[in-house]
């Protein structure tokens, strides 16, 4: 069942001197990792902060687990967990003290010692927050976000400042949280992270949702043509252009490049094999989410560097 846990309709938020969110509409389903991706300053963080009731939108309707973040904030906070982009703990607080303190804000018993183990903080219980590495601090923040056993977890720029190994480890832990049945809302400006991790994602730019779908569907829709390259002794492959999916065939020496869309790879391969052409160096060049994103946000041109 695709039960909707977050629904945002026409969210708008303006500050004195600029518009942070023009018009954001999105919906998140239970049990998915939902990404909110976009360039810096696109309105991602403001959007999730409105959804979490940390900021008040000017207009629009938000429902999280059926609750209105403005009116039902107390009840809502018991059911969501947050890792905020710009947040910290007192420098001299110890890991166990932080977990114990935040557990005390939650009604009922909390099993925070299990979180220490689960998030790889064993042996760091008595370390001060300031003495943790970036990765350890992030893991502590995720543990704090999970301390009330929330149904929806918001993670904002989770892997910023982490080295590649720590990023990969963190991704694994987020999947593990999803596999426990939690819904994850992930804000990121790393497109590789969004592509690898997210079940679906919304791309936001200039305060608007440009598109919302699975990473693959977004790539297919906006990533531009696919390219196939291979080499063969045959000189004339213009007949390939008769295929609907093929847009263009070019040749450089014995190297051919076929450009097209949709099911380009199987149809072209099949046609080649039918004519006895079996190249051993056939390669598929498909746009990544990052390429797609750059095309979508118009930042693939040099003038994108100006702003």
């Amino acid at each position: 069942m695709d039960e909707e846990v977050i629904s945002v309709q026409h969210l708008h938020k303006q500050y004195r001197d600029h518009i942070a969110i023009e018009d954001v509409t999105l919906s998140v389903r239970r049990g998915e990792i939902f990404g909110i991706a976009g360039p810096n300053g696109a309105g991602k963080t403001t959007s999730v902060e409105c959804i979490q009731g940390l900021r008040k939108p000017d207009s629009g309707e938000i429902r999280v687990l059926g609750l209105d973040p403005e009116r039902d904030i107390t009840r809502l906070r018991q059911r969501i967990g947050s890792q905020l982009q710009q947040s910290a703990l007192p420098e001299r607080i110890k890991v166990w003290e932080a977990l114990d303190l935040f557990a005390s804000f939650v009604p009922g018993e909390s099993n925070w010692p299990a979180l220490i183990d689960q998030w790889g903080l064993t042996g760091k219980e008595t370390a001060s927050f300031a003495n943790l590495s970036g990765g350890q601090q992030q893991r502590l923040f995720i543990a704090l976000a999970l301390i009330n056993d929330p149904e929806v977890v918001f993670l904002d720029e989770l892997t910023q400042g982490l080295d590649p190994a720590a990023r990969h480890a963190t991704w694994g832990l987020i999947r593990a949280a999803r596999d426990q049945g939690k819904t994850i809302v992930l804000v990121t400006h790393f497109m590789d992270e969004a592509e690898i991790l997210c079940d679906r994602l919304a791309i936001i730019d200039h305060g608007r949702v440009i598109d919302l779908d699975t990473p693959q569907a977004l790539i297919n829709r906006h990533g531009g043509p696919q390219r196939l390259t291979f080499s063969t002794d045959h000189n004339d492959l213009d007949w390939l252009e008769a295929l609907d999916v093929v847009q263009d065939v070019t040749r450089t020496g014995s190297q051919f490049t076929v450009t097209g869309t949709g099911s380009l790879v199987p149809l072209v391969s099949h046609a080649l094999v039918e004519r006895g052409i079996v190249p051993d160096d056939l390669r598929i060049h498909q746009a990544s989410l990052e390429d797609t994103f750059l095309r979508l946000t118009g930042r693939d041109q040099m003038n994108g560097l100006a702003d």
Partner: protein, 247 residues
């Protein structure tokens, strides 16, 4: 209450790990007391309101403990919590602005109390300072004065942009007031201009409120009413500021 209790106990633990705050609260006033009492001697004369300089300063320096803590360390502590996102982190976990402010107020009050007791102990041991005439009046006045000034400091912490500016503004407020509130030169040696400025300063009210029961002049009702007024207005304004901070 549960939240406030936990926040307060963690804050108290954290304070014991902050040498700067402890130095300010426990050591600075004692050092100044010793220096000034040393400079002015131990003779009872008229400009010391008929008592010895050490006796004169003992009461007013409780005011210094409270004001130094309230104007210098409380605002920068709260401002750092805002600046670094610690407050946002707490807000996201259902901790209200009132709970944060109340726990900071309790911690500030306990620090002021500890610093004052250390000061009185030092003054008694070294200068044989007399105990306050009215212990009950002293407890009442100290409680009102400390709660009022710490709340003022909390309000300051909610309006300054950064922890660094909080420290600069706090020092800028504290030192001139310290010179003119009867904690530096006694009012009787001040010029008329100095004294009329002095009358307008909240720290003067704080010091007068503490001196009255100490010297046996009863309870300074006017000063206490003013301090309670500061407490209520600053408290309400601080809650408002903290809640509105991000909207």
């Amino acid at each position: 209450m549960h939240t406030i209790k936990h926040l307060t106990s963690v804050e108290l633990k954290l304070i014991t790990r902050e040498p700067f705050t402890l130095l300010f609260v426990f050591v600075f006033p004692i050092v100044v007391l010793l220096v000034l009492s040393g400079v002015f001697g131990t003779e009872a004369t008229e400009e010391w309101q008929g008592t010895t300089p050490a006796n004169y300063y003992a009461a007013s320096y409780i005011g210094t403990v409270i004001a130094a803590l309230a104007l210098i360390s409380v605002p920068s502590h709260l401002a750092a919590y805002r600046e670094r996102g610690i407050l946002r982190r707490l807000t996201a976990s259902s901790v209200s602005a009132q709970a944060v402010l109340l726990s900071q107020l309790i911690v500030g009050f306990l620090l002021a109390l500890g610093g004052s007791l250390a000061l009185i102990l030092a003054a008694t041991l070294i200068y044989d300072v007399e105990m306050p005439v009215s212990i009950g009046g002293m407890i009442l006045s100290f409680t009102v004065a400390a709660l009022s000034f710490v709340t003022l400091g909390l309000l300051l912490g909610t309006v300054v942009p950064t922890a660094r500016s909080a420290q600069a503004i706090g020092l800028g407020l504290f030192f001139p007031m310290w010179m003119l509130s009867g904690t530096g030169p006694p009012p009787d040696v001040m010029s008329d201009t100095m004294r009329s400025i002095s009358d307008l300063l909240p720290m003067t009210r704080l010091v007068s409120a503490l001196q009255a029961p100490w010297f046996g002049d009863g309870v300074a009702i006017t000063e206490l009413v003013i301090l309670v007024g500061i407490l209520i207005i600053a408290g309400a304004a601080a809650v408002y500021r903290l809640r509105a901070a991000d909207q």
